[in-house]
Symmetry: C3
Subunit: 299 residues, 3 copies
């Protein structure tokens, strides 16, 4: 597990692009191997695959495109950015936000999650870089996780960032269990209630070995090639099962988590909007962004 | 884990008896040892203990009889059919079904499960043969599981069979989390959410060693005698505890799963009836039965 | 795991004090280390830290006092009674009870639990003695558990005591899943559903090694000093995380359990009151207390 200072460096996008010039093709792209039928969804938003509105929208649209491509039988989600799977939410979406854009941003995160977690085709996260916060969320939405056994880390480290995410806002102090979408539910399902309680509180970033031991990833690989082979091997197991009953089973096993998500998303949106626009929150985030700008990139 | 082709051979009864001549005494019988107070519920419907209406009704009635027998302190559930614990639902109940019979069949499964999962006395599954699908369900409804460490397998392999079970029907695509009885809940409780998500999707049939490692069974035994000894030893632990508080605790720990089952059973019944009677479903099953008939039995 | 007879000796307070002379200062006290900011909540009600009304009220008030003490950053909960962390509920509260007092007693348990399980500061249970029943409950309400690796045991052994606790009453036979506060939920969250099902039924008292293996405690220590060092080390990890998001995360992860508790507490209270005042229950408890009085203390 890593120190808080290290975490801060990979928790959010450090050099977010100007939002209006986001280029779809460079955010997220996909292709389908005509031989194997395996689609690859490639995250390519340098420098850290920060999740902004355009990225999330592109991510979801590429997923939907692959779903409708008859040649596509399964999807591997991975990154073309060196040493980064995804560093999570793009903080620039939340600094001095324009209200409509802020709403659209959060809706795009909810929509992406909804599509990913209940996706019809088998999904494998090939985690080839750091995967904190939203990066871990994307991985935990897949059916299987293969991680490179390098110096990368993975986890929901939001507490350590000290930037309060929506389900941690003052507003949620008076907690409304039925109404808070819980992106963390998928994480809890992977590592179990006890370890989730501990490591969500601590904001732990796991090494690959720790992630394997805790059930957060399913396999490790020593190289990108081996990771790809293991991902393909996992997919072949999924594809040995008739697709429709497999998908219905996936939906059924995940139905309680999905129901909580669906029931609570409106409330979650309002909580998020209120929280982000509080002066205290803005102050914290502006300070954070300034600190990031003062640092040299070292990843 | 085993191949889909192997799975198909043990997933359903291959030589179902003519329904109308089912003999109670040969389906399920029970006796109570006057020395130990241990009742044995014996499943004896050759060739594979296929769960048809009569079997399920007899199973439940024998359980209820043992419950009311003052001499009976605990129950071991096992099979007299060589190499088979139970191969699950009898597909003949679902092929060209008579509507009333179909309804009664599904109700008999629901009733059996309800009685088994909330049974007053301690129950041990002595798994002395293959235990796919409904066989695994019966085992997972008990308080303790001892499995013979032979070439047998156990698991909920319905996805691999490709015959869509009720909670996987098209109708449940628009999922209704509060209203779908989830026979799989007990399985999830045993192996944990992550492994359940994976192995229910894959329709994994576990070897005894894998089942032990995943928590699906509690102990292995190298012989029928050892399995019996371990079952009796487990029962003696349960009987060291006053019966009423033990039973109330069992009820309480299982109350969420039981509540979901009870709340959703009407909806589950309708979903099942609609699904089974769809032309596409009938076509799949008729083809399946014809394929089985063309094969020689090899178990 | 230990025999029922041994369990009986540590399951309830054997020499309860006269209720009306309970002295606050000797029940529960607390101090805050000015150097580290670590508060210690000391349970000191000889001979077994039996949880009676005054103890529970004092426990809660000390927790609240520490919460409001700006110098206090985290709390270690431990015992000054030799070989006993806490032996659980004081049976004298339930023998020939005065109705108002009985109600207040149960409310004080509910209130204590509510404060402990959702406590703002990090909490570590330093389990330096036997911890059956209510003792295990207190430990399971903390964020982290360090146990001395001696001949002590820990577990929810209520079934073995044969004294039916509220959620096991005849009244709860017709179970009401949404309305029964489940003190056991925190235990289930720690050890997992399967092991909870088994060990709550069996009333298992775990050795420290078994408790560690099952996730009921997080670390063992060979001496009181080492236990203290490990508790402080755990606290330093919690304190490395900004307090507010950590607390919100704790609240959120525990929200389903807390919601069930809050929703069901009125019903739980009535069930408890009805049950305890039944003649059969009184008879059992009076017999139990007489048996205890006839024994010499040997702890």
């Amino acid at each position: 597990m890593h120190s808080a200072s290290k975490v801060l460096r990979v928790g959010f996008s450090r050099f977010p692009r100007v939002l209006s010039v986001a280029m779809k093709s460079t955010n997220v792209s996909s292709n389908v191997c005509s031989e194997t039928g395996i689609g690859t969804l490639m995250m390519s938003r340098a420098p850290v695959n920060g999740l902004n509105y355009d990225f999330l929208k592109d991510f979801r649209e590429e997923l939907e495109k692959l779903d409708q491509d008859k040649a596509c039988k399964a999807v591997i989600i991975t990154s073309s950015v060196k040493n980064i799977f995804s560093a999570g939410l793009d903080i620039m979406e939340m600094v001095k936000p324009e209200p409509k854009r802020l709403r659209d941003f959060w809706l795009s995160l909810q929509d992406m999650w909804n599509v990913l977690y209940t996706y019809r085709l088998p999904t494998v996260a090939l985690i080839n870089g750091h995967s904190p916060a939203g990066g871990c969320l994307i991985a935990s939405g897949c059916d299987y996780r293969v991680m490179l056994d390098k110096t990368y880390t993975i986890g929901l480290n939001e507490t350590k960032l000290g930037i309060v995410a929506p389900f941690w806002s003052e507003a949620s102090y008076h907690f409304q269990p039925a109404s808070i979408p819980r992106f963390m539910d998928a994480f809890v399902a992977l590592v179990g209630t006890r370890q989730a309680d501990l490591h969500l509180q601590l904001g732990t970033l796991f090494t690959p070995q720790e992630a394997l031991k805790n059930g957060l990833v399913d396999e490790l690989a020593s190289s990108e090639e081996e990771a790809r082979e293991k991902s393909v091997a996992a997919i072949s197991k999924f594809l040995a099962v008739p697709g429709f009953p497999r998908y219905m089973t996936k939906t059924s096993v995940r139905s309680q988590i999905t129901a909580r998500f669906v029931d609570g998303r409106d409330n979650d949106l309002e909580t998020f909007l209120n929280f982000v626009q509080m002066p205290a929150t803005q102050k914290t985030m502006i300070k954070y962004v300034e600190a990031l700008k003062a640092k040299k990139p070292k990843l």
